[in-house]
Symmetry: C2
Subunit: 227 residues, 2 copies
């Protein structure tokens, strides 16, 4: 009895091993080509145990998506503190994003590519996480715009504390869509391109984004007539 | 004989009707859910004729991807003339991109989402078109950077006509990846958001991108120490 017990690992540990193996294989080969036999073998467990714990290949795939999405979201949020200036929040968030996707390339492939290939409910789960990210980035952009607009608005003798923000909310959402799309594209490129570090990818996007956003927040919008 | 002939349309016309119907149904329902029966019905032809002309559902899907990719590429390239200033090329290219994706929402869904769901060879075909787009945008960014760097470099008494560009080539590729990723994300958002016009989406991205790129090209890179 004692010998058997020392060989046994807690269920939570086994499950993480299964998810580790599954994310690797799904990411490298795609959902269809990854077999439950191979996932069990790589996890060092029996195939019946994988089915016992995670029910089916579909459920295992769903568990992978949820785990990778949560890990990515937490990696970014843990580095972005609301008391930082917006510019620093954006930089820390981008660095955390590119560091995490570089350290977990298969996890990123599962989220960015594989999740869409198996239709619902997986595509909807990833879309929900993405929508949360975009709302988070849009709030960050709006907060930055408010910070910059505030000194003038408060100094002009207006009737109250509230002032008209320099940036309309739907414009902030559009900018957040652009920024998140750019980050997704760059993460896949950085992972596929030898020699591109997470820091470089983050700096490229910060360079691309910040001066543009910064100008917008100062009310200096680009105009077609200038081109 | 004469009556039969007047009813007949040329093969090329019939094929375009089949592709029109297929793109609509693939874009609206996805590859799996779109049936050949429905495609034939919507195209106003018999199902055997669809198979005779396009061989299989897979081949029909491939033909849709190629037609939509070619149409999008041509729509953008036709508006971007090399004699324009880089800023104008970028603006015209973005306007053409968002106008085309707004006018062909199902075609865009097929390219952006559906093509990845059926694995190879479709994902590879779309990836090849995307790589061409990115190379095109990277060249545009490099040309703009050279234009801006040239006056100083030529005035400093260097040994020849050639000068060190302000922007390294791999950095231009990274920026092009970011810009194309941002455009893809915004196009899907604009199509899904009532009231967002192609012009607005193009202006949002131009605002986001140009001031940032413009600063880079003037040698004013963003630096982490500033945040």
């Amino acid at each position: 009895m004692g010998a058997v017990r020392t060989k046994r690992k807690p269920r939570a540990v086994r499950e993480q091993q299964m998810l580790d193996a599954a994310v690797q294989l799904f990411g490298q080969r795609g959902y269809m080509a990854a077999s439950m036999d191979e996932i069990a073998e790589r996890a060092g467990v029996s195939k019946p145990l994988v089915y016992l714990y995670l029910n089916s290949k579909e459920d295992l795939f769903g568990a992978c998506i949820r785990r990778e999405a949560t890990a990515l979201t937490e990696a970014v949020r843990s580095k972005v503190r609301p008391d930082m200036p917006a510019e620093r929040q954006l930089w820390e968030g981008l660095r955390a994003f590119f560091t995490h996707t570089a350290q977990h390339p298969e996890g990123w492939t599962v989220l960015h590519r594989q999740a869409h290939t198996q239709g619902e409910p997986f595509a909807a789960e990833v879309a929900a996480v993405r929508a949360e990210f975009i709302a988070f980035v849009a709030q960050l952009i709006l907060a930055a715009a408010r910070d910059r607009a505030a000194p003038c608005a408060r100094g002009d003798g207006g009737p109250g504390e509230r002032h008209v923000p320099a940036l309309p909310e739907h414009e902030a959402t559009g900018l957040a869509e652009a920024l998140v799309g750019a980050a997704e594209s760059l993460a896949a490129w950085a992972n596929a391109t030898p020699g591109v570090t997470a820091h470089q990818a983050a700096a490229t996007l910060m360079n691309f984004a910040w001066a543009g956003l910064g100008n917008l927040m100062e009310g200096r919008a680009w105009s077609p007539s200038a081109a």
